[in-house]
Amino acid sequence: MPEGDERSDILLMELTASGDREAFASLISRHQRLVLSVAYRFLGSREEAEDAAQEVFLRLWRAAAKYRPETALAAYLRTLTVNHCLDVRRRPRLLALDGGDDPPGQEDPSRDLEASERRGALEAALQSLAPAQRMAVVLFHLEGASMKEAARLLQISPKALESLLGRARAALRERLGSLLDAP
């Protein structure tokens, strides 16, 4: 895999569509952080984020011939990632029978924690949100997407996104409670 591959995304995608694995490897290296960032912040687990990223890039490989260069590859990958992550959370999940660790969000975040640990409570609170709310917060607040872009990725209107974000923030405030009063 070439270091610092200077070739453009469009060229690399054309090569990928023709079966060039080296070009595809360059694309992965160049864009995996973008995919992993959305997946990790939404799914809340490194392992799930890596699994999701693999699936997203495999889809990219299979659909490379259909890719239209009018859409920036980063935006296309972000779309694939959002759709895949929401699908993952929609599937019924088998519960662990061995009584494993409580999933994030089950702890009581209103304990008296230091400010530096508030972020951990925020992560747990994020995981307790409904998938659509969580993805809205991830895209708009954590990934820095614009309202227009986030609405496009969620396939809702900007007005609906504003409402969704409002409910998500209210839920987070409720969940974090007095932790938000800490200096």
Binding site: F24, A25, L36, F57, L58, R119, R169
Partner: protein
């Protein structure tokens, strides 16, 4: 503006500066300490969201992904779903026939019930029979013994 509307408006603020474009909210908050407190918490939440935990380090996924390119692609679900849908439709018709007989007070011969269930189970993907009964709110004991999978 009442507190309920104020709280809704507060939740929609994406930054502190938004307050200047909400004169009604600003004046309500000035005179309402619970809402002022809610606004303070909201500002803290926005601040925390603006500085999330950095991503943990991830390995280069390319070798792992490239190794999977030659895996046969398994399209899970599609054929199975069609088969299951067809089987459930047959089962629903069979059970509907039985329910119809019962509603008219007609005694349903055990043989008929057994035949109906056997026909339904025969068309179901293996292993789904019990799940079907449970999904229909029925227990296996309700099914004639001769027909149980």
């Amino acid at each position: 503006m009442n507190c309920s509307s104020a709280r809704d408006r507060i939740s929609r603020l994406t930054c502190k500066e938004d307050l200047t474009s909400e004169p009604g909210l600003a004046s309500h908050v000035e005179g309402c300490s619970p809402c002022a407190h809610a606004l303070q918490r909201h500002a803290r939440l926005l601040s925390d969201l603006a500085s999330p935990e950095p991503l943990p380090p991830f390995p280069d996924l390319a070798p792992r992904i490239l190794a999977r390119l030659d895996e046969p692609r398994v399209r899970r679900g599609t054929a199975w779903r069609w088969a299951a849908a067809a089987a459930f439709a047959v089962a629903a018709l069979a059970l509907g026939y039985i329910a119809g007989l019962r509603s008219t007070g007609t005694a349903v011969p055990q043989e008929s019930m057994a035949a109906a269930y056997q026909e339904a189970f025969a068309t179901m993907p293996q292993g789904t029979e019990l799940a079907y009964l449970e999904g229909a709110g029925m227990q296996a004991a309700a099914v004639p013994a001769s027909s149980r999978p």
